[in-house]
């Protein structure tokens, strides 16, 4: 998978992962404040935050594996800097990363328009929900409540990760820091 990658691309993914691991951890705490009051549904509407690094990495580097590797690395780093969800979070990262990666794979790693990025956010939402359903024992909750959670999470994935990820990457492109990466040669992005 890494054969076609340049070292600077792998290091870039790692650095993005570090930045977003910190952001992720920040949002775990923001989510926690709510969760005490309204339960696990508190996380759902901001869930897209936790998919954003895979969208950004894939959109910048445009190579197979970018979405998956970045999400797993961010999860691992998040664990090592203090998310008490622990080793399990790496599995969460794997599951979420696979969801987005699958969507990019379906386009043959050739299309990176907004709708593809939103679909990738949707993909992560679906795979991660299946995982949470099992691990958190959602089978024990009202189906209506579970459906609401699912709906919120997919919308959040498409909006925060898909649209948000694109906006942030396009801004980064404008700063000139991404010169020399695939995104800067993609023509159809206005700088």
């Amino acid at each position: 998978m890494l054969k076609s990658w340049k070292l600077k691309e792998v290091v870039l993914v790692s650095v993005l992962s570090v930045v977003f691991a910190v952001v992720y951890l920040l949002f775990v705490h923001i989510g926690n404040l709510w969760a005490g009051l309204i339960g696990p549904i508190a996380y759902e509407w901001i869930f897209g935050i936790w998919f954003i690094v895979s969208i950004i990495a894939a959109y910048i580097i445009r190579k197979p594996g970018a979405a998956f590797i970045s999400e797993v690395m961010a999860a691992t780093i998040e664990m090592l800097i203090g998310n008490a969800i622990g080793p399990r979070i790496i599995l969460v990262g794997i599951v979420q990363g696979l969801g987005a990666e699958a969507v990019f794979a379906m386009t043959g790693y050739r299309r990176y328009e907004l709708w593809v990025l939103m679909l990738a956010g949707f993909g992560s939402a679906v795979t991660s929900f299946v995982y949470t359903y099992f691990m958190s024992g959602f089978a024990m909750l009202e189906p209506g409540y579970v459906a609401t959670m699912f709906g919120l999470r997919t919308v959040s994935g498409m909006v925060i990760a898909g649209i948000g990820g694109k906006l942030l990457s396009d801004l980064l492109l404008k700063t000139g820091a991404l010169r020399g990466y695939a995104i800067s040669r993609s023509g159809h992005v206005h700088g």
Binding site: V18, N32, A35, G39, M73, I77, G137
Partner: protein, 244 residues
């Protein structure tokens, strides 16, 4: 035989398996036994700072509480005799037990995770994944570079905040600082990306290819690693038995 010395990959695999196993049980006793057992091991075989541990645990106590009462209120109707009544909802003994179990599960995950985190050195973990789990050296060393960036980024963040304050951005209260975070993210990312490229170049200039390389520091699997693994699985077995 401190837990700090346990092979990180074996430790990781053991803990992950137990956590998955835990997800299969819906009684309060199984997670409770895991919590008690894990804390006893932490007390006897590690020198984890309990103060640090408590700081990390607090947020997850809140999550556990949230899980507890959502399960009560939004939980599936399992039938049975009404035991108590909350907010006009009648709750049976079984339903109450499920709620306790799910919130205990959150705590059991937390306790195991913290034990892993507080007894595992990041660098050793990455090195061990490279040697035992065949993680690609390119990813492993890039991750180490990422870790080195953490203090650098913190430094840069302070410099940015200072400069922005000079320009009249109010950054005195906590809320003002949080509101300004999105404006810090972009310069921080742009700077980090430029630095990432420089560091990648200097790795390559020193002959790093991700290909064939010597392994100087071996992180081996010792018999005690298996002993530790068995201890944790025994604990898990005990907890399952207690739940029946």
């Amino acid at each position: 035989m401190s837990l700090h010395d346990m092979n990180p990959t074996i430790k990781f695999a053991t803990f992950t398996l137990i956590m998955f196993g835990l997800a299969l049980f819906y009684n309060p006793w199984t997670p409770l036994i895991i919590i008690v057992g894990t804390l006893m091991i932490q007390l006897m075989a590690t020198d984890v700072s309990w103060k640090k541990w408590s700081l990390f645990t607090i947020p997850f106590l809140i999550t556990a509480l949230g899980t507890f009462w959502t399960t009560l209120v939004f939980g599936k109707d399992l039938g049975g005799e009404t035991w108590v009544s909350i907010l006009g909802q009648s709750i049976s003994k079984q339903e109450f037990a499920v709620a306790v179990s799910l919130s205990m599960r959150v705590l059991a995950f937390t306790v195991l995770s913290l034990l892993f985190m507080l007894t595992t050195d990041s660098k050793r973990f990455v090195m061990s994944l490279m040697q035992q789990a065949r993680l690609s050296p390119t990813i492993a060393y890039s991750a180490l570079v990422g870790f080195r960036f953490l203090p650098l980024m913190q430094q840069e963040l302070h410099q940015l905040q200072y400069a922005h304050r000079l320009r009249g951005v109010p950054l005195n209260t906590r809320w003002e600082r949080i509101r300004h975070v999105p404006k810090l993210l972009l310069p921080l990312l742009a700077g980090s990306i430029r630095r990432a490229e420089r560091i990648a170049f200097s790795m390559e200039a020193r002959g790093f290819t991700g290909g064939k390389r010597t392994v100087y520091e071996r992180i081996d699997i010792k018999p005690t690693d298996y002993v530790w693994s068995c201890v944790f699985f025994l604990l898990f077995g005990l907890s399952i038995w207690a739940g029946i």
